[in-house]
Amino acid sequence: MKTLRQIWALTWKDLRLLAGDRTAIVTLFILPALFLMVMSQALAGLYNRGQLPRVLTINADRGPVAAKILDRLSGAVRLEAAPDRAAAEARLRSREAAAAVVFGDNFSRLAEGGGQPSVGFIVDPAAPRELLAPIQGAIRGAAERTLAEVVLPIRLRERVDDLVAQSPDPLVFLPLAGAFDNLQVGEVALKEEYPSGSAPPAQRPGSLQQNVPAWTIFGIFFIVNALALSILRERQSGTLTRLAAAPLSIPVLLAGKLLPFYLINLVQAALMFALGIFGLGLQVGAQWPALILVTLAVAAVATSLGLLIATLFETPEQLGGIASALVVVLAALGGILVPGFVMPELMRRLATLTPQYWALEGYQSVLLRDEGIGGVLPQVGVLLLFALGLFLLAAWRLGRTPV
């Protein structure tokens, strides 16, 4: 009882001091929320499969073939007609569209006559290859299928006409007279499956599924700076000397010093997910216990890292912006600032060395794969190992640091 009261006295004191620290409030609560709101909108196009890339069309074809190609293409890209090439180029330069397709006036004539019609493809030089390649693929696929459907009946009819001309009994070919009308080239269906043991995805990864957990983790790790500053200020002001002289055991002192920051982490996570769910429309599903378990583990890593950072410096001035810079670098490496799937292989491997990566994996297992507690245990286990390792390192450093 006495021990709990001592821990609570230490906790309450730090919570009150933090409540009066505007910088800490901005860093821990307001900035992550702002990042979440801005980045979830900014990256929406990268994730949102419903938002197709915009492609401009300049169709001068006098026949039906180009129109058929465009009709087939409309499911894969968002088509918008441009009056002429100059207007299309202007819109490409202003980044309103990724590319433009151009059909010449004799496109159908060439296609139907057995020639080699070509499709013009104007691209914004700044458009990334990753964006253009699927558009090119879609245009090529639509054009090839359409041309096959247009050209094949003509060739078949020509062959039948030859056969009729050579046949002693042309009437036997009569049933083939309409056989090549509306000929359609078959399409291979893709059947989506999942590795054995994996449930179908609860949701497709979207901007919110990346950004809500990512910026929650980002905010949680900013506790490193607040915690390290708090300890260094105590050391500088002499209150740490007083705490060490008080009748407190080391575990009580550590618990009392870490608990307020751990609690703030939990409040941060709750507020960020509340913003994601109620403000931005994130779907969480039913696996709340798993989500909470991941949060508890992430907060343990962040507070342990804060404690370790505090042992590496002697004054708040020495700490400066180093803790914040470290948090940003770890966030970048761990797939918080830049999604892992756009990283090169080496960076993806490096990411696994950061707690942020495992935290994001844990959250996304819950949000995207609908995993329960059992499903996030590997990520939680790794996070707890990080927390334990950092805490032991900090305790060792503390033992070597004079009060």
Binding site: S237, G238, R242, A245, A246, P247, L248
Partner: protein
């Protein structure tokens, strides 16, 4: 003895910070601990407060060993660090409540103690104000009050008057004297020897981690049997010091580079003063100020340590 520290040793690497230090302080006694910077005072205070475990030797407070019975013994000790160990964002009352709770106080007893210590340090009217609005002197007084909140039987005061105004200094002195009368044992370190002379019944001088003298201020001064001659001279200071150190009766000369002062510890200081003025006159070194202190703790300190108490290490 309320505080019984015996044969304390402490080393940091190869550096011996404290070597064989033995101190005893009785209940109601104010004990002065003096020494130049780096002499081992801070390490001694840390060992007496239980912040640092001695490599050898023991510290007992009211019979409780500070290492083996750490929590129980620490409850009997109050510490007032040299730094302003307060939380500026909280009020004086909230600061006191926090420290009181850590020492196991609660409810009415805590409220009563907060009121009592604020009264002792003269801050009863300002208790609800945020400490960041306090003057430096008021923060020093709160620093003292925090050390008293749990009614310690031993109080360790490390430079408690640094940077305070005369009004706050007097208030702190009065508080310390009142606590002593109430039976508290107090260990007092200061760079201001006049404070130590005023407050302390016994004084220990430490240098290089060793106790080099102990006794009442009067005993130490009588044993040394000399006073101080302070001259303010024109440059070159080194040349003047070299001329004076050879005078008969001079036991030490200390130079204050900033203001051109030469402080000489000397037997028969009046005769030394006359001789010094003559020597400096012959050397063509002008003298712009003279001060004669027949007998003082500072002179004792200068003789024993060859350093001024305010020297940098």
């Amino acid at each position: 003895m309320l505080l019984d520290a015996r044969d304390l040793h402490k080393s940091y690497g190869k550096r011996q910070a404290v070597v064989g230090l033995t101190l005893q302080v009785a209940a109601g006694e104010i004990f002065g601990l003096l020494g130049p910077n780096g002499a081992g005072k801070s390490t001694t205070i840390k060992m007496l407060a239980g912040l640092v475990a001695p490599d050898r030797g023991s510290v007992r407070v009211a019979g409780l060993d500070l290492v083996r019975s750490a929590c129980a013994a620490k409850r009997l000790v109050g510490i007032v660090p040299q730094e302003l160990a307060v939380y500026p964002g909280l009020s004086a009352r909230d600061n006191l409540a926090f420290w009181g709770e850590l020492y196991g106080l609660s409810g009415r007893r805590l409220a009563a103690r907060i009121g009592a210590v604020l009264e002792v340090v003269g801050l009863a009217e300002r208790g609800r104000e945020p400490v960041e609005r306090f003057s430096g002197g008021m923060q020093r007084r709160l620093n003292l009050a925090i050390g008293l909140i749990h009614e310690p039987r031993l109080l360790l005061l490390d430079e408690p008057t640094v940077g305070v105004d005369p009004q706050s200094r007097n208030r702190i002195f009065e508080s310390i004297e009142q606590l002593s009368r109430e039976g508290m044992a107090i260990v007092y370190t200061s760079h201001y020897l006049e404070e130590v002379e005023r407050l302390c019944r016994r004084v220990a001088i430490v240098d290089s981690g060793r106790l080099i003298a102990e006794g009442t201020p009067a005993q130490l001064q009588a044993a040394a049997g000399h006073g101080l001659v302070v001259l303010t001279v024109q440059q070159p200071l080194e040349e003047a010091a070299a001329a004076l150190v050879a005078l008969p009766g001079v036991v030490g000369v200390h130079q204050e580079q900033g203001d051109g002062r030469l402080t000489m510890a000397a037997h028969r200081p009046q005769q030394v003063l006359v001789a010094a003025l003559e020597v400096l006159s012959k050397a063509g070194i002008g003298v712009s100020g003279v001060q004669l202190v027949e007998s003082s703790l500072e002179a004792v300190f200068l003789q024993l340590t060859s350093r001024s108490l305010r020297d940098e290490p």
